[in-house]
């Protein structure tokens, strides 16, 4: 390997990371040095700063995508317009989460912890940036850990609730366990190939045979990332953590980290282990997708707690996202997956927005408490219904398009066999099961004629803003074909391979 002199201008390649760092520093300084009475503005400030970052990302994307194509640190870090677009998608999600969490963050309980929440959140986001941009496993591990460890602290933020602690313990212990397994797998890979660069691993695996050690290594690597994505059977922490964590954290956890992990997964599998596609990981994923979708759905059917319910729903959604990975980086599939993530962010956040608002106003979280909600809070119910329809894939809401495209994407490889059709069929049949439990929510809200236990209330401005944004997204993202088409242009112009 050639020794490269460290050139500090290379840092400039990491435009978005730098932007995020600036946001982080501003937030940190504001939190640390400004008086307590001005701290109430912190949530708003963070949201605005992230919004600026997002807008910058979109502008760059639109005006000069080629300037986003950068490599740094001897190829450890790579940024392409596709990756930048994904980061921007994550940013959008973060902005919505931030808007929705304003009320929570400004509650009296959070007064002392407000800053911590935002700083930790931004750090995890930074970690996710590194995950998706990494082309070397060292950088990837750093990203992965910095994306997951602070989350444990965030989960534990709600010191007054026991569930919060329990969730945090479950999260941190299983997360460390999984990263230990992941790193063990990496060490085997290192032992087999002598490098941790994706490209080098790919090159080393070219022509090499498959042995047991490689299989174990790959299984370990898959499980490590699968843990973040909460693929079955590595998902068991999900429900408990989602339920225990504060709602804002849950919503962040369910969409942003999942989106980042999914994309990173794709990059790793395609760029490092692409040679093993047909032999190994296609079938590993095949099994995992079926398990994930089915088991996630089966668990979701019985859930009564809304957060837990959405946790399992997000497990099965992760399975659908994986359908975009299984076709080995085909441009359409990649675009479909990114689009799916985008739509999923909007839909899930709409649901969490409603849940959060209701939890704040009445403390109710059970699905039975939602019975007859339409009578008392029609607008919230409609927003919730749209979210459910979108998650279930009902047209004309965005979820329908994303689901259709991800299925189409999964079958887009030339000469795709019947096995893949069977997989898609299983996924499709599972959409019926998922429709069933999404409709249970709709039924509770609209059809049940009980007296609703949730009094009519007026949600706060920030909650409403968040819901309006997400609802607009749910309705508009699919019908306005621009998003998907642009993503597809990017993935076709800058393919992963």
């Amino acid at each position: 390997m050639e020794i490269v002199n460290m050139d500090y201008t290379q840092f400039l390649a990491m435009k978005q990371e730098i932007g995020l760092l600036i946001v982080f520093i501003v937030v940190f300084l504001y939190d640390t040095f400004l008086p307590a009475k001005s701290q109430k503005a912190l949530p708003g400030l963070t949201a605005v700063l992230m919004l600026i970052l997002t807008v910058c990302g979109i502008v760059f994307e639109a005006v000069a995508p080629e300037t986003l194509s950068k490599t740094a640190f001897a190829g450890m870090y790579v940024s392409t317009p596709v990756i930048a677009a994904l980061k921007t998608i994550l940013n959008v999600g973060v902005v919505i989460v931030l808007i929705q969490s304003v009320n929570w963050a400004n509650s009296s309980f959070m007064a002392m912890r407000r800053g911590e929440f935002y700083e930790l959140l931004l750090v995890t986001l930074f970690g996710m940036y590194l995950m998706v941009s990494a082309r070397h496993f060292l950088l990837f591990v750093i990203g992965l850990e910095s994306a997951s460890l602070p989350l444990a602290a965030m989960v534990a933020l709600d010191k007054n609730r026991y569930e919060s602690h329990e969730a945090a313990v479950k999260y941190i212990l299983t997360a460390v366990f999984s990263s230990a397994i992941f790193m063990l797998g990496l060490s085997f890979v290192y032992g087999l190939t002598g490098s941790l660069y994706f490209n080098d691993i790919y090159a080393a695996l070219t022509g090499a045979g498959v042995n047991m050690m490689l299989i174990v290594a790959l299984a370990a690597v898959v499980s490590g990332v699968g843990f973040k994505l909460s693929l079955v059977p590595f998902h068991l922490w999900t429900a408990d953590v989602y339920q225990g964590a504060p709602t804002s954290v849950t919503s962040y956890l369910s969409v942003i980290s999942k989106g980042a992990a999914a994309f990173a997964f794709l990059v790793i599998l395609v760029q490092a282990f692409g040679m093993l596609y047909a032999q190994l990981w296609e079938w590993m994923l095949y099994a995992l997708i079926i398990l994930t979708i089915t088991v996630g759905n089966l668990f979701a059917i019985r859930q009564k707690n809304m957060k837990r319910f959405l946790a399992f729903s997000s497990v099965s959604q992760a399975g659908y996202i994986m359908l975009g990975v299984i076709s080995d980086g085909a441009p359409v599939a990649t675009a479909a997956m990114m689009f799916y993530i985008l739509v999923y962010i909007f839909s899930n956040l709409a649901a969490f927005g409603v849940i959060g608002a209701i939890e704040r106003a009445s403390g109710k979280l059970s699905m039975d408490d939602y019975r007859g909600l339409y009578r008392t809070n029609p607008r919230l119910s409609v927003a919730m219904m749209l979210a459910m329809f979108s998650l279930a894939g009902i047209p004309p809401f965005a979820g329908f398009f994303s689901k259709f495209f991800i299925f189409t994407g999964a079958l887009s490889a030339p000469g795709v066999g019947t096995a893949m059709y069977v997989l898609v069929l299983i996924a499709l049949i599972n959409t019926i099961v998922s429709l069933y439990y999404y409709l249970l929510v709709v039924k509770a809200m609209f059809i049940a004629d009980d007296q609703c236990v949730i009094e009519p209330f007026r949600s706060s401005a920030s909650e409403r803003l968040g819901l309006w944004i997400t609802v607009a997204g749910i309705i508009g993202l699919g019908i306005a074909s621009w998003f998907f088409s642009e993503l597809n242009v990017l993935t076709a112009t800058y393919p992963l391979i």
Binding site: I142, A167, F188, Y190, G194
Partner: protein, 89 residues
């Protein structure tokens, strides 16, 4: 050593002991990297570097985990992992 760690993690009831087992696992990985680097690929230092970072990460994890366990201890007055099943099914 890794297996020892796994075994310990799964069988210990005390969360601190589980944490120790986790450390074992991580150290096993570290040694793995160092050994591979030293004997198979002596030309470069990738494995070594990775180990260094891994040690740092392990330290951070432990710190965080202990903090959370202390929280649990405050709430529950014990650190038996089997008590942590309020949320299930």
């Amino acid at each position: 050593m890794f297996a020892c760690g796994v075994y310990g993690f799964i069988t210990r009831k005390n969360m601190i002991a589980m944490l120790v087992s986790l450390e074992l696992m991580l150290n096993a990985v570290d040694i793995n990297f160092v050994v591979f680097n030293r004997y198979l690929f002596p030309g470069a230092f990738e494995g070594m570097f990775f180990t260094l970072f891994a040690i740092a990460i392990a330290a951070a994890e432990t710190a965080l985990a202990i903090a959370i366990i202390i929280n649990i201890f405050r709430a529950e007055k014990n650190i038996d992992v089997r008590n942590l099943d309020k949320m299930k099914f």
